[in-house]
């Protein structure tokens, strides 16, 4: 037990030594367009089955795809935000496979010449681990339809509403080394997408999904054979699936077996991955350039216009928060995940102490909201009231401990903290005379302990502080209590 706890994240202790994970992610991000990539049907989620389908999407003979300019702009914008190479000429290819929710018999995608090439992003795993992950490419492609398997014992029901919706597939380099890094990477991609507005990043509705390529190796060795885990739709599942898959591979390798390169599914009920047999030929896609579509070409000025309109990106805001408010880079990275968080934080921090505000927001407020299953936008505590609470703490009007009680009350009643403090008489006692009274009482009531303390049991000092705080119901100013106890315990 103690040995495994010393392992670094992403390392697995096997019989033959420590193994390291090598992970690459393919993120599918639905473009937040009104209409589809190659047809004028609506791209809205949740419409009545097959109502958002045109004859192009249904692949009727003679229908021709015409590309959506907005989707092209979103891909370029996202590429720029990923610090990536933009390719002014790119080509659409047909990726051929058969599935009931793919009426064309092929997906229009980009194979050899994607719209966006190599780039990189910075991720924050925790306070001590910031790293850079390479981006291999970003390309535009069509989403597939949806199959419902639970409507009938022997039939599947097909809804083509999603068929042809624009996806950006963002492929990372195999630079990721732990499930934690994979999670941080997905979070960072999601916040970049949301900042630029090219995808809403909603994993529950499936507008952001990930395929994970996982292999293992001994440190310093060549990459091992990888397996691909398809269609993971939450960061928690990405974490679990990678860990389970890497452990499976280590077990096979250590018992003398070989890894088959294959596509696998993560079973959320068992927490294990299993082979998708039907995908045996899946990698034989017989790509070729789509004869219905000419190469996609645009000018440098088209790219420049998009670049000029790029909003502030998460890394920029993060740097600003660190500089202006003196908070840690990791705290800043959590706050910049969502624009909402940043707005809330900056309003709350006008109360004074930025660092304290960040702490309270991240550990207390986010924790409490999570417990109540609430979003920040529905928080009973507003930035103004949180700011006021921070002000009360930093001015010494209430102690940090009392502030937690006030905070809990605020979560329930949405009252102003100053009102709660007044109503309940929670102001911190910072009056020397008041505190002296308490100190005298504690000393008088505990003469035996005072003797022990004076004869060298220094540790007892904490006991006296605790007693004073207790009879003051937590309201005594701890600094003053310490000072006056020292002066009077002689």
């Amino acid at each position: 037990m103690s040995e495994t706890s010393k392992l670094k994240p992403g390392h697995i202790q096997g019989e033959t030594g420590v193994w390291e994970m090598v992970i690459g992610l393919e993120i599918h991000a639905q473009v937040s367009s009104k209409s589809k990539l190659f047809s004028g049907a609506s791209a809205t989620f949740g419409a009545q089955a097959n109502s958002n389908v045109s004859l192009v999407d249904a692949a009727m003979p003679g229908m021709l795809p015409v590309i959506n300019e907005y989707c092209v702009e979103q891909a370029v914008k996202t590429g720029l935000a990923l610090n990536a190479q933009i390719n002014n000429i790119s080509v659409f290819d047909r990726k051929n496979y058969f599935y009931a929710d793919l009426p064309q018999g092929y997906q229009i995608s980009q194979f050899t010449k994607p719209i966006v090439g190599e780039g990189e992003i910075n991720i924050d795993v925790d306070d001590n681990n910031q790293t850079t992950i390479g981006i291999e490419r970003l390309h535009l492609e069509q989403d597939a339809g949806k199959s419902l398997h639970d409507q009938h014992p022997s039939k599947s029901y097909i809804d083509l509403n999603r068929t042809g919706v624009a996806l950006m597939e963002i492929v990372s380099k195999p630079d990721i080394r732990s499930p934690q890094e994979a999670g941080a990477y997905v979070k960072k991609i999601r916040s970049i997408l949301r900042y630029v507005g090219s995808c809403d990043g909603n994993m529950e509705e499936g507008s952001l999904r990930a395929d994970c390529n996982v292999s293992v190796r001994k440190a310093g060795e060549e990459f091992g054979t990888r397996c691909e885990i398809k269609n993971l739709n939450s960061i928690r599942f990405i974490n679990q699936a990678i860990q389970a898959e890497a452990e499976r591979q280590v077990e096979i390798l250590e018992s003398g077996g070989e890894i088959n390169q294959e596509t696998r599914l993560f079973d959320t009920s068992t927490g294990e991955t299993r082979s998708m047999r039907s995908k045996e030929d899946a990698h034989d896609y017989r790509y070729f350039p789509d004869p219905d579509l000419l190469p996609l070409e645009f000018t440098d000025s088209f790219v420049q216009d998009i670049k000029d309109k790029l909003p502030e990106l998460p890394d920029f805001v993060k740097k600003r928060l660190v500089n202006e408010y003196g908070i840690t880079p990791y705290d800043a990275s959590i706050l910049v995940e969502e624009k909402d968080y940043v707005n809330f934080f900056e309003k709350a921090a006008t109360g004074g102490d930025g660092k304290l505000t960040a702490n309270w927001m991240i550990s207390e407020l986010f924790g409490a909201l999570k417990k109540e299953n609430l979003l920040l936008s529905n928080s009973p505590i507003s930035p103004e009231t949180l700011g006021e609470l921070i002000g009360l703490i930093s001015k010494g009007i209430i102690s940090g401990k009392i502030a937690k009680d006030v905070f809990s009350e605020m979560m329930i009643s949405s009252k102003k903290p100053s009102d709660i403090v007044k109503e309940k008489g929670l102001e911190q006692v910072s009056d020397d005379k008041e505190i002296l009274k308490l100190v005298d009482k504690v000393i008088a009531d505990n003469q035996d302990k005072v003797k022990d303390y004076l004869s060298g049991k220094d540790k007892l000092f904490g006991f006296f502080v605790g007693q004073v705080m207790k009879i003051s119901q937590g309201k005594a100013n701890p600094g003053l209590v310490n000072k006056m106890l020292k002066e009077n315990l002689k």
């Binding site: 367009s33 009104k34 209409s35 047809s39 004028g40 049907a41 609506s42 009545q48 089955a49 097959n50 109502s51 958002n52 389908v53 045109s54 004859l55 192009v56 249904a58 015409v66 590309i67 959506n68 300019e69 907005y70 989707c71 092209v72 080509v91 051929n96 058969f98 599935y99 009931a100 199959s147 419902l148 398997h149 409507q151 009938h152 014992p153 022997s154 039939k155 599947s156 029901y157 097909i158 809804d159 083509l160 599914l265 998708m276 047999r277 039907s278 030929d281 034989d284 017989r286 350039p289 579509l293 000419l294 190469p295 996609l296 070409e297």
Partner: protein, 100 residues
Amino acid sequence: MSNKKSIVDIPTVNKIARLSRLDIPEKNKQSLTNDLNNILGFVANLEEVDTSNVEPLASVTGHKLPLRSDIVTDGNMEDLVLKNAPESSSGFFVVPKVIE
């Protein structure tokens, strides 16, 4: 084309047929293999052309890819979309169960 080496054999034909979901009668496979080799052999003549300094050509028309604005102009035709489906129910296509 007898001087060109055969590119396709019967196992390859079987594989392509499977990937394309084509059911090819056993008796036709040899002649199909010959046909494919003849076609590929003919096209292989192009390999003699030196293309080392030529960009791949995607179109001979000189036209550019037309772009459309992001406006909803189509859809809401469930009846038409489902018209040719062998089976449908409450607006869905219905197919034999496909599940992992």
